[in-house]
């Protein structure tokens, strides 16, 4: 993969997989090439500690981007819930950095710290306490009654879904892939 997807069969396959139109795929491919410097893959330049992919090819790129497609509401209830779940799973993996199916306190803290890192005046400790509070809240939302010796050791995906209840992510998690002519070529 990663070579020019001019072969229409290839494009069509991608279309089926990701739901993009061929136009969008072409545009995304142009962007991909721009980012990768005409290489077949984008390499991960930052040496991540663990679990980070070394490089991604165009298909991976498309797959990731396809999570940000708007939901087609006309497709019916089932489709909507399905894609909502997929989007949430994608988000969940962003939190779950060791991908063990749980967002542990530590992971959550890291996220919050990163979120607050923009403000140099908020100390790490307060970020932590926020994460702790959030975790506590998550526990109380997700696990109503626990056995005495039960431990709440992280947000599972089911819990994650529960937390996101009431936030209509399907209407928010999208990026305009239409009108991609406005791609900014300067970088």
């Amino acid at each position: 993969m990663g070579a020019a997807p001019s072969a229409s069969a290839e494009v069509r396959e991608l279309e089926g997989k990701t739901g993009f139109s061929s136009e969008q795929i072409e545009q995304l491919h142009r962007r991909f090439k721009q980012l990768s410097g005409d290489q077949p893959t984008i390499r991960n330049l930052r040496k991540g500690p663990r679990g980070l992919a070394e490089e991604i090819n165009f298909e991976d790129f498309l797959t990731i981007m396809s999570y940000f497609r708007p939901i087609d509401v006309t497709m019916g209830e089932e489709h909507v819930t399905q894609s909502r779940k997929e989007k949430l799973r994608f988000l969940f993996h962003m939190y779950d950095s060791d991908s063990d199916g749980r967002i542990t306190l530590e992971e959550y803290r890291n996220v919050v710290e990163e979120l607050l890192s923009g403000n140099p005046h908020i100390e790490k400790e307060s970020a932590r306490s926020i994460a702790d509070g959030a975790m506590m809240e998550a526990a109380s939302v997700c696990v109503g009654q626990m056995e005495p010796d039960q431990v709440y050791d992280g947000i599972t995906f089911e819990d994650f879904l529960k937390i996101w209840q009431g936030i209509d992510i399907e209407t928010k998690m999208h990026v305009r892939f239409l009108n991609m002519e406005t791609i900014a070529l300067c970088h």
Binding site: R31, L105, A139, S140, G144, I163, F177
Partner: protein, 897 residues
């Protein structure tokens, strides 16, 4: 005429007011009265303000009356009722005075009544939502209004050409366009009044409401252009005039917005420097916003737009800068003014309609207008929505469109504009006035009445009002970042990208410039939510506490009886727990009689709900400064306490303790044991949200308070290190014992070790008074009778083996051997916290949290004031390692005893 009408309403009150005046009268210079006038009537001097006050009073009273019946207000919107009331009042005035007297004067309306409403809506506009939907709002506001104005005007003209309008209505195409321009604008006041009661989903609301605010610019421009065209005469209008008309649209709207933003900037900048004159903060907000309005009006720009932008722009910075109290003051004043103005507007609308001399009826025109505005509104909405849906990723569905077209209410703006018309230039003015009145009444009353059932019937997505949660806030923030990042990756610089850029710019420059440094430092949305949640929890906790108190019908036990109770419980303990196996703390606690337990509940309620008695009162009486009073300090205490509690209960989650539904009840492990032995009535309370329905929950509070103190000790430590805690502790204890003999609030935390036992927490006075025996620690084991020592040891060892919260563990364990405790919890990641005191982890982080929080809202002076109060409690906790200090205290207590 006024004189004729006034006796009706004014006299009784005026008489009452005047009766008090004579005492001042003699002093006033004037021509020497024939005698000393005991009573002088001076109606004319107070007439104008008196009338204004009276009208507002009548309107407010009417509001009260309406809301006496919930049934009526749930069906009929208040605006309808007010209009009807206005009609009735107008009728009465008309009947008495034979001539309609009061009415909505355009000058009054635009200069005094409209600004508060617009400011209120701009200031409290959910800005995120507004900007998220800005595209749609602008489309509807600009294109929609233009469309409505032209089509309605043209259609009416067509109607006239077709001969359906009586020929006595002398109007040309331009006149009809002028009329169309003023009748087409959706009115913010009416929309707000009706939509606030119909809780449609936020997107729909913001679109309709935003449109009604922003279309002002278009309305103003259209109205002015058409008006000047009419005045010039159709023959004299040249092509350049049309161009100028189009240009003026941009000038008026952008100019208005610019004026608003400039004033928002000024306002934010000014509030940055009001630290020493807090009292004028609310005033500044109103003054500068009003100045923005007047400035825009003066430059004949869109004043509504100016105030909206001013409110929208300044809010973030102003809220961060001004004090908490000023914030409340601003909020309430704004709401009061807006609601007052709205009430008066609707009432005056009703009254104005009575004045039949002003209008002339023409059925063709009225019915035609009604039909056209409804029809073209609907058509316009459908067309624009279709267009917008090509771009919108969340399309507006049919139901939304129905509500949007039906929610296009006309209101007082149209009425004021039509009154402003010049009769000599617009000969058909009277007909237009009548038509406008009918349109306004129809939309407000008929549509206002029916929109609620319609929304229900169509099953429009209502706004779900769920509490904001920390998780949600965090996720949404992450989400924004992710979206911005993805847009960046894709290379499409869309909305999220620019919002992200704006936020960064704001953070880097704008906030630094406009926010007080102390405010800027802790300014963060996530932190805000966290803070707010904590406050909310604290408040609900206090509320619950009060509730428990009243519902349980506890009587306040007098001091002696309580003493005896405590003693009996000790004897109970000694007598009954001879079987050493079950001698653990919980048993001791629960052996006590019900009365005693009530005492415990009571005590902890008071501990949690009351606050440390303040001995230092600053007798300050200044007009320019409001001293922060005890209430605020208490709020702060609740907050600290509560934060501690949240984290405490979280900690226990980690510590392998169960979590029941309610957050602050992680101590069930301890309770379970207790329940096993205790009587059946002492079961778990019903699950409550944040309540403290039973003793166990109360235990938690107190304990958290203890922790809080230990934390605050760390925060304060830096400041007053030199104080010798022994002396203070003793004096404190003694003093408290003497002074507040009956209900001293929580003396124990000052002298107990870091993690007190359950018994202590439940009956803290024990530790302060007689029974050190109840007190489980290495020291106290010595006091326990020898035959019970084995029992002690057993229970202690059993506690050790159990993975139990630090609360139930002997304090020596936690204090001296923090590491084994850490080993007890395999789940805890080893790298969780670097410092060795991980196991009862939160204090350091909390101390910081508490500190930065207190910096957030507290004045330094106030903190200093607090310090002695907070500092003295906890010198016991200064050094967990130094056993010396602990022993000192023990000695002290012994000595006292």
């Amino acid at each position: 005429m006024l004189r004729a009408a006034l006796p009706l309403l004014g006299l009784p009150l005026a008489g009452a007011g005047a009766a008090e005046e004579p005492s001042q009268e003699p002093g006033s210079p004037g021509e020497p009265p024939p005698g000393l006038a005991l009573f002088r009537w001076q109606w004319h001097e107070v007439e104008a303000p008196y009338l204004v006050a009276l009208w507002i009073l009548v309107a407010s009273l009417a509001k009260i009356v309406f809301h006496l019946s919930r049934k009526v207000t749930s069906v009929v919107p208040e605006s309808c009722l007010l209009i009807l009331l206005g009609l009735v009042l107008g009728g009465i005035v008309l009947a008495v005075a034979k001539k309609a007297e009061y009415q909505l004067e355009p000058g009054t309306f635009f200069l005094f009544l409209l600004p508060p409403i617009v400011l209120d809506s701009g200031y409290f506009m959910p800005s995120r939502l507004f900007f998220d939907n800005l595209g749609a709002i602008l489309t509807y506001a600009v294109v929609g209004t233009l469309w409505n104005a032209f089509t309605t005007g043209a259609a009416l003209w067509g109607l006239q050409q077709a001969g359906l309008v009586a020929p006595r209505v002398q109007a040309g195409l331009l006149d009809f366009l002028l009329f169309g321009s003023l009748i087409s604008a959706v009115d913010p006041v009416a929309v707000l009044a009706v939509f606030e009661e119909v809780h449609v989903n936020e997107t729909l609301f913001i679109i309709v409401f935003g449109e009604s605010l922003l279309n002002d610019a278009v309305t103003v421009v259209l109205y002015k252009v058409c008006n000047s065209f009419v005045e010039m005469g159709p023959a004299n209008v040249q092509a350049t005039d049309y161009l100028k008309g189009v240009a003026s649209l941009f000038v008026v709207s952008l100019g208005g917005a610019a004026v608003g933003l400039v004033f928002a900037f000024l306002l934010a900048l000014t509030t940055r420097f009001t630290k020493r004159v807090r009292i004028i903060e609310p005033l500044l907000v109103f003054l500068l916003a009003y100045a923005a309005y007047l400035t825009a009006e003066m430059a004949s720009l869109s004043a509504i737009l100016a105030v909206t932008m001013c409110g929208l722009g300044c809010k973030k910075y102003v809220e961060a800068n001004i004090s908490h109290k000023s914030r409340t003051a601003v909020k309430y004043t704004m709401k009061t003014l807006a609601s007052c103005a709205e009430t008066v507007i609707f009432m005056l609308l009703g009254i104005s309609a009575v004045d039949s001399s002003k209008w002339a009826w023409d059925s063709g025109l009225v019915l035609g207008t009604l039909f056209f505005i409804l029809f073209f509104r609907a058509l316009g909405v459908v067309l624009q929505t279709w267009m917008l849906n090509q771009f919108r990723l969340v399309p507006l569905d049919k139901i939304d469109q129905v509500v949007m077209s039906y929610g296009g209410l006309r209101g007082a703006v149209a009425f004021a504009l039509v009154i402003l018309l010049d009769r000599t230039k617009v000969p058909a003015k009277d007909y237009f006035v009548a038509t406008t009145i009918v349109v306004v009444f129809f939309t407000v009353i008929v549509q206002g009445l029916t929109i609620k059932p319609l929304v229900k019937w169509l099953k429009v997505k209502r706004s779900e009002h769920h509490k904001p949660t920390l998780n949600q806030e965090l996720h949404e923030h992450t989400f924004d970042h992710i979206l911005a990042a993805v847009e960046d990756v894709v290379g499409h610089h869309g909305y999220h990208y620019w919002r992200d850029r704006w936020e960064q710019f704001d953070k880097k420059y704008l906030s630094q410039l406009l926010m007080r440094r102390s405010a800027y430092r802790i300014r963060d949305q996530i932190w805000d939510v966290y803070y707010r949640l904590n406050i909310r929890d604290a408040i609900s906790f206090v509320d619950q506490g009060g509730h428990v108190l009243s519902s349980a019908g506890l009587t306040l036990p007098s001091m002696p009886s309580r003493n005896s109770m405590a003693e009996t419980s000790v004897t109970n303990l000694l007598r009954e727990s001879g079987s050493g196996a079950c001698l653990d703390l919980q048993v001791i606690d629960t052996v006590r009689s019900g009365r005693d337990r009530e005492d415990a509940v009571m005590h902890h309620l008071l501990c949690g709900g009351l606050y440390k008695p303040r001995r230092r009162y600053k007798a300050s009486c200044s007009r320019h400064f409001i001293s922060e009073d005890a209430q605020e300090r208490q709020d702060k205490e609740i907050f600290q306490q509560n934060m501690k509690r949240r984290l405490e209960s979280f900690k226990s989650t980690k510590h392998n303790i169960c979590l029941t539904k309610s957050k602050p009840r992680p101590r069930k492990a301890g309770r379970k044991k207790k329940d096993g032995v205790a009587n059946a009535e002492f079961t778990n309370g019903k699950p409550r949200d944040l309540g403290f329905p039973d003793t166990a929950a109360v235990i938690l509070t107190v304990e958290s308070e203890d922790e809080e103190e230990s934390d605050s000790s760390e925060t304060e430590k830096e400041d007053d290190e030199g104080i010798i805690f022994v002396a203070r502790a003793t004096s404190e204890v003694l003093q408290e014992g003497k002074v507040s003999g009956s209900l001293e609030v929580c003396p124990s935390p000052r002298i107990i070790p870091p993690s007190p036992t359950c018994a202590e927490k439940e009956l803290p006075w024990k530790s302060g008074q007689a029974d050190l025996a109840v007190y489980v620690s290495s020291e106290t084991t010595k006091i326990v009778p020898v035959d019970m020592q084995t029992g002690w040891n057993q229970s202690i060892s059993s506690l050790e083996s159990l993975a139990s919260p630090p609360c139930t563990q002997p304090p020596t364990l936690t204090r001296l051997l923090p590491h084994p405790l850490g080993a007890e919890e395999p789940q805890a990641p080893p790298d969780l916290s670097p410092d060795p005191r991980t196991s009862f982890a939160f204090p350091p982080s909390l101390a910081k949290a508490g500190r930065s929080r207190s910096e957030s809202s507290a004045d330094i002076s106030q903190r200093q004031e607090l310090q002695p109060l907070m500092g003295h409690k906890d010198h016991t906790h200064l050094s967990p390692g130094t056993a010396n200090s602990h022993w000192c205290i023990q000695f002290n207590r012994g000595g006292r005893l």
